[in-house]
């Protein structure tokens, strides 16, 4: 598990007490996902990783697991780099 995944796991673990969340594990299938987690997760991803989550990113697959969140952040960062003028 890389550093980003570890950070995401630490954040998510607060919502899944007593469960050793695995990188590919579907957090929606585990339950306990409500609007409180949803909005905090968006704020966390934006603040911790410096990416903006927009309306086009509202896709459960972007937030389904530690791995999918890490992939989403990497894609957003890649897109931001591409959009930056040389």
């Amino acid at each position: 598990m890389d550093q980003m995944q570890t950070k995401i796991k630490t954040f998510l673990s607060r919502f899944f007490k007593g469960h050793d969340l695995q990188p590919e594990e579907d957090i929606f299938a585990l339950g306990f996902v409500n609007s409180l987690l949803a909005m905090q997760l968006v704020a966390y991803v934006e603040k911790e990783f410096g990416v903006a989550v927009g309306d086009e990113d509202l896709d459960l697959n972007n937030f389904r697991s530690i791995q999918s969140i890490a992939d989403f952040v990497a894609r957003k960062r890649g897109a931001a780099v591409e959009a930056t003028p040389a």
Partner: protein
């Protein structure tokens, strides 16, 4: 966290305070009796750019920081909770668009909302759906090139005059799919055929908030009216709007409580009973002490919430709920004690404290009732420890 206001924030607060003292507070009792905020007052809010405070400069807004916005809300609420509720609901809609709207929606609506030319109203509650937002019955059907909305919204603040409704509906999906699992948010312009607005009168508090019932009958809106995506209407769009609303209501509650304190400070020094001013009676001082200390505590909670919101901190959600919970309950206690201190005078229209009590009660119900906060706040505690 810095507890000191900046020079700009103090200056802005002084400006808000002077405006409210001159143009809002002296007339609030009449507006309450007439159950309407006059158009010229909304015109003044527009001139002073007090609507759409948090809209980013990119979209023509002032981009006020959360602390300045809080100070504005407190000062307006000190004068008139109905005017405060206009700011609250308008800014909730603007915030939701700014947070989850498409680029086109932001460009179409936010500049006009920032100028106050277009008023926003939140159409979430229904006759059978209040705290349980997911149980909304309004439907949105996919008609190919448009969405067709059908249903009835209730308690829509400033629905009587708003030009834009943020409507929440459940999307009727393909056969076999559960429609209740697909809540969505739509921007519906007032002039859209099928929109019917019915004023609601005789409300307990914030009586000039021009509440309305909104009927949507075969209301066709463009596909581009969808905010965010289907399925995220409650969890993200409504959640963002309500979070903004809770923040505004928290500060508004501080404003009511401060107004109660101001009224009681003046009254207890002027009114004499038993040969001395009321302020010299120990039991009165006890009531004043609770008010003085609790107002300070509530304001600190609001400042902490604002500071975290400005920082984009995930913890802001909990702190905003805590601020709203504490401040709205305080407003009721303070207003109740203010009426008690004023005695029979407090029960008459000659003094504003009776209105404060009616307005304060509303604060415990809107944007998440006290009981909803009591269910939710411990969940944050459990996730932290």
């Amino acid at each position: 966290m810095n507890l000191e206001l900046t020079a700009e924030q103090r200056s802005a607060r002084d400006g808000f305070r002077a405006f409210v003292a001159a143009e809002i507070a002296p007339h609030a009792g009449r507006w309450d009796r007439e159950e309407a905020v006059p158009p010229h007052v909304i015109g003044r809010l527009r001139e002073l750019t007090l609507l759409g405070s948090n809209v980013a400069p990119e979209f023509g807004g002032r981009g006020r920081d959360m602390i300045t916005y809080g100070l504005l809300t407190e000062e307006i609420a000190k004068g008139c909770s109905s005017v405060r509720s206009l700011l609250t609901v308008h800014d909730m809609v603007a915030h939701a668009i700014q947070r989850w709207g498409s680029r086109e929606q932001k460009e179409r609506y936010l500049p006009r909302m920032a100028r106050g030319e277009l008023l926003g109203a939140l159409a979430l509650s229904e006759p059978n759906a209040g705290s349980d937002a997911k149980s909304i019955e309004t439907t949105a059907a996919d008609a190919g090139d448009a969405w067709v909305l059908d249903g009835r919204k209730k308690w829509t603040t400033f629905g009587q005059i708003a030009g834009l409704f943020l409507v929440f509906a459940k999307v009727e999906e393909k056969p076999g799919e559960k429609p209740e699992s697909k809540p969505a948010a739509f921007l519906v312009e007032r002039e859209t055929p099928g929109v019917k607005v019915k004023p609601l009168k005789g409300i307990l508090g914030t009586r000039a908030s021009m509440l309305a019932e909104i009927e949507l009958a075969g209301c066709r809106v463009p596909k581009e009216s969808l905010v965010g995506r289907v399925g995220f209407g409650i969890s993200h769009v409504a959640a963002a709007a309500l979070e903004q609303g809770r923040y505004s209501v928290a500060w508004g509650s501080v404003g009511i409580a401060q107004a109660c304190l101001d009224a009681c400070r003046a009254y207890t020094q002027e009114r004499r009973q038993g040969g001395s001013p009321l302020a010299d009676h120990q039991l009165i001082r006890r009531l004043l002490t609770d008010m003085i200390v609790d107002v300070r505590a509530a304001r600190l909670l609001c400042l902490r919430s604002g500071w975290l919101r400005d920082a984009g901190d995930p913890g802001a959600f909990m702190e905003t709920m805590a601020a709203k919970y504490f401040a709205s309950r305080l407003a009721v206690r303070a207003a109740n004690d203010a009426v008690q201190i004023h005695g029979a005078n407090g029960c008459s229209d000659d003094y504003p404290v009776g209105r404060y009590l009616r307005d304060a009660k509303v604060m415990e119900i809107i944007e998440g009732s006290t009981q909803i906060q009591q269910i939710t706040i411990p969940l944050f505690e459990f996730q932290e420890f």
